[in-house]
């Protein structure tokens, strides 16, 4: 326990999350994974966007960057390219990552830049009090979907995989040991690694949809998921409509920073003076 606590800025606690929120569990899982790997806390940069998820970084004792809504991965890309030797972790939410930040997400995945991204998915905008997100299941209620959500939701794991992420996993705040393992795997992976962590929001998602208490919501999450390894052996009706949890995709692909430094290696040299002989450029017009 004390080892885990040493990763927290204890003077910043207690946190602002509601009683029963799953985000603390997920933050705890990240810290436990970091602790298991024995990572140097001076060599980790933690980046978040805006929303309930984004508050996590303020409680953790690393160099931490609480950015603008949706932009965590874009800031993180700048950090990583500037300091490829450091570990960069992004903590984001379903709205932050897949709505306003959706474009940055697919491009970070496409580049396969070495960033570990934890998506705390509570299926709702919690910070602004319960509007539907691109991860709110169809038909569910939200303050901006009073008649039921008409939109389809993303399968984030499939999206990440299709966009080029080389490590993709899904865990939950119910299956904590598994979540710690998945984050540990993601942190060790070289390339763009995504762990979607299903989280419960009893205050808005639970209440609006009459799911019940935090414990009831954990049961609801458990009921929505099936272990990816077990799924193969199960009859189709047991898997139909369920979210697979576990490691969902892993491949070894060239990482962006490595490739950039490799491509530019032959021209890299020390800076001496203004190079007066820069070439002229052709005009372009868009």
């Amino acid at each position: 326990m004390s080892e885990t606590l040493s990763y927290f800025r204890q003077d910043r606690l207690p946190h602002i999350w509601c009683p029963g929120c799953g985000h603390g569990t997920i933050t705890g899982a990240l810290v436990r994974a970091i602790n298991r790997l024995g990572l140097d806390k001076n060599k980790i940069m933690l980046v978040s966007g805006i929303g309930c998820s984004s508050r996590a970084v303020g409680y953790l004792d690393f160099d931490t960057l609480h950015t603008a809504h949706g932009r965590a991965l874009a800031f993180a890309t700048g950090l990583k390219v500037a300091r490829p030797d450091l570990k960069v972790i992004v903590m984001t939410g379903d709205g932050d990552c897949t709505a306003i930040g959706g474009n940055h997400f697919i491009h970070a995945a496409r580049r396969n830049i070495d960033i570990t991204t934890i998506v705390m998915n509570n299926n709702i905008y919690g910070m602004t009090s319960g509007q539907y997100s691109p991860m709110t299941p169809k038909g569910m209620l939200a303050t901006t979907a009073p008649y039921g959500n008409s939109e389809r939701d993303f399968d984030l794991a499939e999206l990440a995989k299709a966009a080029g992420a080389t490590y993709v996993a899904r865990g939950t705040s119910f299956h904590v040991p598994m979540l710690i393992d998945l984050i540990e795997q993601a942190l060790q992976h070289k390339g763009f690694a995504v762990v979607e962590a299903l989280s419960q929001c009893p205050t808005y998602m639970g209440r609006k949809n009459k799911i019940g208490s935090a414990v009831d919501m954990l049961e609801w999450i458990k009921g929505r998921t099936v272990n990816a390894k077990a799924a193969a052996a199960l009859p189709p009706d047991k898997v139909q409509g369920k979210l697979l949890i576990g490691e969902l995709h892993k491949s070894s692909q060239p990482e962006y920073c490595d490739e950039y430094f490799k491509a530019t290696a032959k021209v890299r040299r020390a800076w001496k003076n203004i190079d007066g002989g820069l070439r002229g450029c052709e005009q372009n017009s868009d």
């Binding site: 002229g280 005009q283 372009n284 017009s285 868009d286």
Partner: protein
């Protein structure tokens, strides 16, 4: 003394590069020079215009006000800019039909034909035109233009471009006589 050039034609003819080389040659001779351009969205085709102002003195306004020399390589450029020419000289490609709207002094020079037929490369028309402009204007010497061409054209094309420059310089003499 301020000398103003306007080089006009269509996008892709390389007039911008010709303007840059002309300005660079002027600088190599210790003069001041400013090169500007206006262009449309097309990388190839469409109207294109480059301007060069050369002066022994400080240049304040960077654009041509009353050009001393207009180079026109297309009929459209010839009509558009030719009809607003004042005291300056119009140098138009020989293939462009004459227009009654253009009343300024005009010389007709086979720039495009020299590039395409004689040198076998349409793309060097801009450098042929540069040779013509250099000789007709008298603002820069041939050796300086040669140096500037060597500085600015793509590696491996120097010989062809220098040949084009010298041919331009020669046909200018023929046109002026």
């Amino acid at each position: 003394m301020r000398t103003e050039f306007r080089l006009s034609g269509s996008g892709g003819q390389g007039l911008l590069l010709a303007g840059i080389v002309l300005a660079e040659a002027a600088i190599l001779e210790g003069k001041n020079a400013v090169q500007t351009q206006s262009y449309g969205p097309e990388a190839r085709g469409g109207a294109s215009k480059a301007e060069v102002v050369v002066s022994e003195d400080d240049i304040d306004y960077p654009k041509a006000i009353d050009p001393d020399f207009l180079l026109a390589l297309t009929a459209e450029a010839y009509r558009t800019y030719g009809k607003v020419m004042g005291r300056g000289l119009v140098i138009v490609d020989a293939s462009v039909p004459q227009s009654p709207e253009v009343t300024a002094r005009t010389v007709r020079v086979p720039i495009l034909a020299t590039a395409a037929d004689e040198l076998g490369k349409k793309v060097v028309a801009n450098i042929v035109a540069l040779g013509v402009l250099g000789r007709v204007s008298g603002v820069v010497d041939l050796p300086t233009l040669e140096s500037a061409v060597k500085n600015r054209v793509p590696k491996g094309t120097e010989d062809l471009n220098l040949k084009a420059l010298r041919r331009g310089w020669e046909i200018a003499a023929a046109a002026a006589s």
